[in-house]
């Protein structure tokens, strides 16, 4: 038994840490995040060169064929730096949807080519699920896919599509019938006629989201991932995998908040003592350590389940999503509080992490939602 990273994983970790030190210092992160695209294409090409865009994608689909554990390793470092990149959207949402879909029904040539292009970092993609005012539940999918000849015609709106304004392809969640589970996934080109994309406001300034309007967007049947009308299981496992990925990012961000706060308490003197010598501060830090370390355990285990222990994923995926985001939230809040006034200024980095914590907690469903999903994963059906 070895619940620690192996040599290869540690090497990837060291590489990711190095890359973040070189390319993701906060001022550069903010500069990139302020551009219309919200990421740097050369940086993304570098990720592809390192093989990270194909890390968990099977070799037959053009990937490196490693596991979700390696992905978790990279994501944790990215989250620590609030690294602005379509990596999460493209690799951890869209590619996962294609891989999961391939398990349900063979990928069409177009979709296989898309997955290979994602793996190679040549294209970026994303997943469009939630809709205005909606939540991550089957009845909230209102965007319709109407069969028309051999094609499907899509109508509706998607919100908070991560990096959706720049993605070369959108995996869109659509409804094919009235019943809750009548769901389909289609891969739609970003420049499809009838698709209007606009960057939307996000409280998180280091991750872009977009609103996508589908007005009679026509896609061939070959755009479907899995079986149209029956793609709920594919979407479900994609969401579980995406939850683990987001947890990994947020674990890194939470760790960063904690480390920063702890260091500051040792430097900051009040009443002639470092504030780290006050019990109130010490006890907050001890509790944060526990929360962050528990989050680490949950995330790594969920990564392992995603890689090797798939029957546990429906439980530990949502578990990790909920646990880590509670801890990240606490750490981001405490980071500001322990900094005092300076932590509330715009110039200080603390608020960028708090913003990320706010958005990441809501993204893919909040704690209540993920805990409910976890119980359903345990086989406990709701009323």
């Amino acid at each position: 038994m070895n619940f620690a990273f192996n040599d290869e994983q540690r090497e990837i970790q060291a590489g990711a840490k190095r890359l973040m030190e070189e390319t993701a210092q906060l001022d550069r992160v903010l500069e990139i995040a302020a551009t219309p695209e919200g990421f740097d294409r050369d940086d993304y090409a570098q990720l592809a060169e390192l093989g990270w865009t194909g890390l968990h994608i099977p070799e037959q689909h053009g990937g490196v064929g490693l596991t979700y554990v390696e992905l978790v390793v990279v994501l944790e470092q990215m989250g620590m730096a609030l690294y602005p990149s379509p990596f999460f959207a493209s690799i951890c949402m869209a590619a996962s949807a294609l891989i999961e879909g391939a398990a349900a029904a063979p990928l069409s040539d177009d979709n296989a080519a898309l997955l290979a292009a994602i793996a190679a970092g040549e294209k970026t993609a994303t997943l469009a699920y939630v809709e205005p005012g909606g939540r991550y539940r089957p009845p909230d999918v209102k965007l319709t896919a109407r069969a028309d000849g051999g094609d499907f015609v899509l109508d509706g709106t998607k919100s908070y599509v991560v990096d959706g304004h720049t993605a070369d392809a959108i995996v869109v969640v659509a409804r094919t019938g009235e019943a809750d589970g009548e769901i389909a996934l289609f891969a739609v080109p970003g420049d499809a006629p009838g698709l209007t994309r606009s960057e939307a406001h996000s409280v998180d300034q280091t991750r872009k989201v977009a609103t996508l309007e589908f007005n009679g967007v026509r896609v061939p049947a070959a755009a479907a991932i899995g079986e149209p009308g029956n793609a709920w299981p594919t979407l479900n496992s994609t969401m579980q995998l995406a939850g683990v990925a987001l947890a990994a990012e947020s674990l890194g961000a939470a760790q960063h908040c904690f480390d920063t706060a702890l260091a500051y308490t040792k430097d900051r003197f009040q009443f002639g003592r470092p504030i780290s010598s006050f019990q109130a501060v010490k006890h907050i830090c001890a509790d944060l350590l526990m929360a962050v370390e528990q989050s680490r355990s949950a995330t790594y285990y969920a990564g392992w389940a995603a890689a090797q222990q798939r029957d546990e994923l429906p439980v530990v995926g949502p578990l990790a999503k909920a646990q880590v985001h509670d801890a990240f939230w606490d750490a981001a809040r405490a980071n500001i509080q322990l900094h005092g006034g300076i932590g509330f200024t715009y110039e200080h980095e603390a608020h960028y992490y708090y913003r990320r914590a706010t958005a990441a907690r809501a993204m893919l469903g909040d704690g209540d939602f993920n805990r409910e999903m976890m119980l359903q994963g345990l086989g406990l059906a709701p009323a």
Partner: protein, 415 residues
């Protein structure tokens, strides 16, 4: 125990309502209204008549305020002048200072700001390092202040500065009134995490202050500042205890308020009914988890309202507020955090980024970004708990090494 008016109170209420209806009219300018209030003494009813107050009882003041709100008349000049600087000058200032400063303060003609906090003196306010050096009849001030509200608007500032760093920290501080138009006063807006600049940094470079503008004796600055801060805590604590207009229409206009702090104050002042209404609109009124959350926040509002009645009763009886008032700021912070979290809950995925046209989500977003400030400004939650435990519960101060040695020898770390 009877929350209804006594006959005497009812009589007074009628009389005051009459006066208000006669003197306030929709559309009058703020300046006009302030003048009416100042002339009648209602701008600061509790102050002695000789300084522009009414010498009224707390009971009168409270009923006046209730009736003023009831007819929708604007409050007297806010900011730190009347509630904080005024009482300090009345208690510690010279007669000359009272004559010079109180009247324009009451009329809202001169705005005041507070020059206390410094980068190195936050929770530990007595650690201020801004220097005051004597030069004949004047003082020369050098240093940096932060978290100053309304610095650009202010004509005067109340200032704590260190006149002798060789004295123990609490003993080397003197309290001044600083002319904000004086040479050497530089005001730099301080952008907060909300993206707004409600606060300012104030740099003081060789600013000259006449010794006439010293409040209290040399070295009494800490003691004088206690008067200011006690009034501040009271104001912050009472802020959350306003009447709750159950059933008031919820149009969420506060989402458009100029600053997030205002948004917060206005939203909280609507009371818990607004949350019930918004829960229905979000379609979550039947969701059992939402219901529990709602009930918990509702309870916080209500216990604050009830505690407010206890405090008001004590004040109306002319007593100081009891122990229940000491936790007011902590309770208010707890409430606003819970309200922000609840609105985030109602927003669902909308918490990622509030659409401009959704005022509920917009309010949620603004509150969420501003609440971290509430547990910091005016004394962090940790400092509040220290104050409560030491001053109210009589628990001993921690042993400390900085109180009795010269200020200059105290270890100082990061700002």
């Amino acid at each position: 125990m009877d929350l209804r008016d006594t006959p005497a109170e009812a009589e007074l209420r009628k009389e005051l309502r009459g006066w208000l209806e006669a003197n306030w009219r929709e559309g009058m300018s703020q300046q006009e209204w302030f003048a009416v209030l100042a002339d009648s003494g209602w701008a600061a009813p509790l102050w002695p008549q000789e300084y522009g107050g009414r010498g009224a009882s707390a009971s009168e003041a409270i009923i006046f305020n209730q009736e003023r709100q009831a007819i929708g008349a604007e409050p007297p000049p806010r900011g730190i002048g009347v509630p904080m600087a005024g009482p300090t000058i009345i208690q510690h200032g010279t007669e000359q200072q009272k004559q010079r400063f109180l009247a324009p303060m009451l009329r809202g003609e001169e705005v005041w700001c507070q020059l206390f906090s410094e980068p190195g003196a936050g929770s530990d306010l007595a650690a201020i390092a801004t220097k005051a050096e004597r030069d004949g009849d004047e003082w020369v001030i050098n240093g940096q202040k932060v978290w100053t509200t309304h610095a650009q608007l202010a004509r005067w500032g109340i200032l704590m500065a260190r006149h002798d760093p060789s004295l123990p920290k609490h003993q080397g501080i003197t309290y001044f009134i600083c002319d904000m138009h004086a040479e050497g006063v530089e005001i730099v807006p301080l952008k907060e995490m909300t993206g707004e600049a409600i606060f300012n940094e104030v740099f003081l470079s060789d600013v000259r202050i006449s010794d006439d503008l010293r409040v209290g004796q040399l070295g009494e600055g800490w003691k004088v500042s206690m008067t200011t801060l006690a009034n501040e805590r009271m104001a912050l604590g009472l802020g959350g205890l306003g009447g709750t207009a159950a059933g008031a229409p919820v149009d969420l206009a506060e989402a458009d308020a100029e600053s997030s702090l205002e948004t917060m104050g206005k939203f909280i002042a609507r009371g818990p009914h607004a949350l019930v209404e918004l829960t229905k609109r979000a379609g979550l009124a039947e969701d059992p988890l939402t219901r529990q959350r709602l009930a918990k926040v509702y309870t916080m509002y209500e216990v604050n309202r009830f505690t407010g009645y206890r405090i008001t009763t004590a004040l109306m009886k002319g007593q100081g507020p009891g122990v229940e008032a000491s936790t007011g700021k902590l309770a208010y912070n707890q409430l606003v955090r819970a309200v922000a979290d609840y609105l985030i809950h109602l927003s669902g995925a909308g918490a990622i980024g509030a659409p401009d046209d959704d005022k509920l989500m917009k309010t949620a977003e603004r509150l969420n970004l501003v609440v971290p400030a509430t547990s910091i400004y005016g004394g962090t939650d940790q400092i509040q708990r220290n104050i409560i435990s030491e001053r109210v519960l009589g628990m001993p101060k921690e042993p400390r090494g900085d109180a009795e040695i010269p200020f200059s020898e105290i270890r100082k770390g990061a700002a």
